[in-house]
Symmetry: C2
Subunit: 489 residues, 2 copies
C-alpha cells in the first residue's frame, strides 16, 4: 500500500491507473473491458448514488426496473438511436449450454437453443422503456411520467479505461414522458441543473453547463445538455448529459395520448444519465502524487484515527469517545488498531485512499491535551486541543470541501481561454490545454475539420456566453455561436 | 384501479396475478420471462434492500461489483455448479450489429463480430468472483473476505411468474472467503439467521430454518441452509438460502492462502442470496381478496390521508399538520388531493395497494375533533380524536406489523403436521397442505419416489426437531432424520 505512485508530470495516464489500483478502487476482470469495482471504489459509488437518488426523488421522480435485454426489433425501432449504438452491442443468441461431447467436463453452446430473435444487452434503455410506456400512457392524466432506473449497461468499447470507459458500467438513466414540448425541455434542463449541482456541491468539481453540437448529441436526441469538467491534464471530461428527445421515441414506438381536448398527440420525452464514470472524474479532479483526494461529502471514511504508535488503553479510551461524538454528528470515522503496521505506513495508506482528515493520537500529545490533526487536501498538520476537537473536525471537513472546489475552480479559470484566430486556438490547445472559447459558424464541416486538425472537439455551446456576433475562427464566415473547444476523454 | 380481483378460493393463481397487476407491482415485458418492476413494486424492493443492506453491514460485510458476463471457461471450472446452471444460461456470442443489406433500416448480427469465447450472463457469480479472489487472497491476513453484491442475474427458466420465477431477477449475493471450515460454517449460519430475522421482523413472515437434502442443495455447495415460508394456498416457498461451499470453488479456481504457520491451504467459502422473489412471498403471505396487504415496515406509503369528500382549506390545514408530525416520527405519509376521484374510489385504490393505515378527514368529523382511522389488515375503522392521533397511528402501525406476523404464524401452525405413515403424509398433503414432518431414511431414492408420487419435496431438515430415532415412512428403514415435506413454489 505504501508504495509510491507515478508522478502526474511524468506520466499522467499511469498516475491515474496507479491510483485506481493502489487506492483499491477497481481492477480489470477476466472479461475484456469489464472492471471489478472493489469495495472502496463501490463505497464511493454508493455515496454518489444515495445523494443523487435523494435529488431525483426531491424533483418528483420514482425508481423502477426494466429488463436487461432488448429484442433486436425493438432496439432498431428508433433508427438514429439504433445506428448510434449498433457497433457496440453485446448480443445474446442462445439460451442454453450443453456438455461438450468432444471435451469431457467442458460445456459448449447448445446449437438447438438458438433464439428466434436476438437479444441485445441494453446499451441504454430508451427502446425497452418506450415500448413499455406505450401501455402506460393513454391520456393527459397519465402524464408526466417521471421515472429513473439504476442499472448496469453494456457498450462494447474498443479502448477501455477503469471508470472512464468500460464495456459494462453502472449508471442511472431517467426516462420521462410529457404532454408538451415546453414541459419536456424544462425537465431536461432541470436534470441538467441537478447534475451540475451534484458535481459542484458534492464532488467539489466545477462544471460548465452547455448544450452539444449536432455531432456530439446523443443518438436520437433533439438536444443534449451537458456538464463538462476539466481534468488536471487540461483535458475535458463529459460528466453527465440530459437529453430532450422531442417526439422521436414516441413516434418510433407509437406512444400517443389524448389531450384534455380529446385530441391525439405524440408524447414528448427526455432521458438523462450519469455513470460510474463520475468516479474517474472525481479522481482526476482532486488527486495528487500521494494518491487519491476525496471531497468529504463523498468520502466513505471522512476521518481516520491512528493510535501512535499503538492502540494502548489510554489512547483507545480517547479514540472511542471521539468516535462516538463524531458519529453523533453524522461523520464517518474509522480507527485503525492493526498493530502489525507502523503509524507511518498507515499515514501513507490513508493518504493513498484520500481520507480527508487524519487524527494521530499519541500518549505524549495526550499528556498535553492535544491531538495531531492532518488534512489530506493540503497535507498540513497541526496540534489541536482535545477540548472542542469534534467541532474543529466538523468545521475542517466543510473547509476541505470548499477548498477542493475553490482549487479546482482556480485551476479551471487558469485554463479557460478565448481564441480569436485559428492559430491561437491551436497554440492554446497545444501549450496550455483546457477550454478555449471561439466563434464557430455552426456547421459540422468546420467542427470536424477542427477536430481532425487539433484533436479538440466542441465540448458544448455554453448556456452562458454561448451567443454573440462574430466571425468563425476557422471558416471566416459569420458566426452567432461561441463554442467551447477542448481535447477530451 | 377499483375493479375487483379474483377471489383466492376461486383461483389462487389468478388472484396472485391480479394483485401483481392491480397493485401496479410489475408486468410482463417484451422479453420472454423478464418483467418490468413498476415504481410501486420497486419501492417495496428498495425498502427490502435498504434494510438488508443495513443488516449485512452490521455483520461486517461490504459491497462490491463484479462483471455481468462470465467467460465460458471460467463458468465451467466448478463442474457441479456449471452443470446445475448450464441449461438456463443466456449466452453472448457476438459484440456488434450491422445494417442488414437485405432490409433497409433494419439491423442484423455482424457475423464478423463473433467472440472467440462465448460469455454467459451470470446466473450466479461464484465463478467470476472466485476467479477474482484468487488475486486478492495470499495470506491469512487477507481473510476473511466478507463481500456482498447487489445485482441482476439471469436464469433462462421455462415457466415464469412475476417475482416468483423470472428469467432476469434482482438479488444480492454474498460471497465470503475464510481461513477455516468452522469459520465458514459459522458465517453461512449467521447469514441464515440474518435472513430469518429479516423475514420475521420486517416481512412479518414466519419461516422455518433448516438445511437442504443433497438433492435440493445449491449446485456446488456442501450444505445449503434455507428459510422456508408457507403461502396461503398451503404451498411452501423457499425465501432465502445460505450455502457452505467447502473448498469446492477454492479448488476449482486454485485459491490458496498461507497460514500463520506458513503452510498453504485452500480457502473455505460461503455464498448466500435473496432476491425479488421475496416480493412474491410477501404478497402471498398477507394479502387478501381486496388486494395487497403490506407490513408497515416495508410499506412505501405507511399512511394515506384521504380528504372527505374534497381537499378543502380546513381539511388541508389539518392534513398538512399531521403530515409534518408523522414525518417527524419517520412515518411515510401521502395525502391524496386528486379531486377527480371520489373518496370511495380512493379507499379501494389504497386497499388494493396495501397501505397499512388510512386516515379519512371530513368536515363533519373534524367539527367533533375526530378523524376516521382505517386499518388495512383487519379492514376495521374507528373514530379517533385528533388530539393524540399521531401517537395512535404510530402505535397502530406497530400493532399491524405484529398482527400480520401473528396471523401468519397461526396460519402456519394450523398447517404444520406430523405424519407417521406414508398414507397419512399423502392425505395431509392432499387435503390440508402445508408442512408435514416425517421420518426419512436419508436416501435420495426415497426422496425422489415421494416427490414423484406426491409432488411434495423435502423443503428442509429443520434445525430444530430434525433429528431423532424412527422408521422412514416410505421405506420402513431406520431413520435418524425428520424431514419437512411440502408442495412448493
Amino acid at each position: 500500500m505504501a508504495k509510491e505512485i507515478t508522478n502526474r508530470e511524468e506520466n499522467y495516464s499511469q498516475w491515474y491507473n496507479d491510483i485506481v489500483k493502489k487506492a483499491e478502487l477497481a481492477e480489470n476482470s477476466a472479461v475484456r473491458g469489464c472492471m471489478v469495482i472493489k469495495p472502496y471504489g463501490y463505497a464511493i459509488w454508493e455515496k454518489m448514488r444515495d445523494q443523487l437518488d435523494i435529488m431525483f426523488k426531491e424533483t418528483g421522480h420514482v425508481n423502477a426496473y426494466f429488463p436487461l435485454l432488448v429484442p433486436r426489433s425493438l432496439f432498431e425501432a428508433e433508427e438514429k438511436n439504433a445506428e448510434g449504438f449498433a457497433k457496440e452491442c453485446a448480443v445474446v443468441t442462445h439460451y442454453r449450454l450443453e456438455n461438450d461431447p468432444d471435451n469431457e467436463g467442458k460445456l459448449r453452446v447448445d446449437p438447438n437453443a438458438k433464439l428466434e430473435e436476438e437479444l441485445i444487452i441494453r446499451p441504454t434503455s430508451e427502446a425497452i422503456i418506450w415500448n413499455t410506456y406505450k401501455g402506460w400512457i393513454h391520456s393527459y392524466r397519465d402524464l408526466p411520467l417521471l421515472i429513473n432506473q439504476w442499472a448496469n449497461v453494456m457498450r462494447w468499447e474498443m479502448r477501455t479505461r477503469p471508470f472512464l470507459r468500460t464495456a459494462e458500467f453502472l449508471w442511472q438513466e431517467g426516462h420521462t414522458a410529457h404532454a408538451t414540448k415546453d414541459e419536456a425541455i424544462a425537465e431536461a434542463r432541470q436534470m441538467h441543473d441537478v447534475y451540475a449541482q451534484f458535481a459542484e456541491e458534492h464532488m467539489a468539481m466545477p462544471v460548465i453547463k452547455g448544450y452539444k453540437s449536432e455531432n456530439e448529441r446523443f443518438a436520437g436526441a433533439v438536444d443534449t445538455f451537458t456538464i463538462e469538467a476539466l481534468m488536471q491534464d487540461g483535458k475535458a471530461l463529459q460528466a453527465g448529459t440530459s437529453h430532450f428527445l422531442g417526439q422521436n421515441f414516441a413516434k418510433a414506438f407509437d406512444v400517443k395520448y389524448l389531450t384534455s381536448e380529446n385530441k391525439e398527440e405524440y408524447v414528448w420525452a427526455t432521458s438523462w444519465g450519469v455513470s460510474t464514470r463520475l468516479i474517474g472524474a472525481l479522481i482526476m479532479t482532486h488527486s495528487d502524487d500521494q494518491g487519491l483526494v476525496l471531497p468529504p461529502k463523498l468520502a466513505p471514511i471522512q476521518v481516520v484515527i491512528v493510535p501512535i504508535p499503538k492502540p494502548t488503553e489510554e489512547i483507545m479510551e480517547v479514540a472511542n469517545k471521539l468516535i462516538k461524538e463524531l458519529k453523533a454528528k453524522g461523520i464517518s470515522v474509522k480507527v485503525d488498531t492493526d498493530d502489525r503496521k507502523r503509524p507511518g505506513f498507515k499515514f501513507a495508506e490513508y493518504e493513498m485512499k484520500g481520507v480527508p482528515v487524519r487524527l494521530g493520537i499519541g500518549a505524549r500529545d495526550l499528556a498535553k491535551g492535544v491531538v495531531e490533526v492532518a488534512r489530506r487536501d493540503e497535507k498540513t498538520k497541526e496540534l489541536i486541543a482535545l477540548e472542542g476537537l469534534v467541532e474543529h473536525v466538523e468545521q475542517l471537513l466543510s473547509e476541505i470541501q470548499d477548498n477542493l472546489f475553490n482549487r479546482a475552480i482556480k485551476f479551471r479559470e487558469e485554463r479557460y481561454s478565448e481564441a480569436t484566430t485559428y492559430e491561437e486556438l491551436k497554440e492554446i490547445l497545444n501549450i496550455k490545454g483546457g477550454f478555449v472559447k471561439a466563434y464557430w459558424d455552426g456547421t459540422s464541416e468546420t467542427e470536424l475539420k477542427i477536430k481532425e486538425e487539433t484533436k479538440a472537439t466542441i465540448r458544448c455551446i455554453p448556456l452562458e456566453g454561448g451567443q454573440g456576433e462574430g466571425t468563425c475562427i476557422y471558416s471566416g464566415k459569420p458566426a452567432t455561436q461561441i463554442a467551447l473547444f477542448a481535447k477530451a476523454y
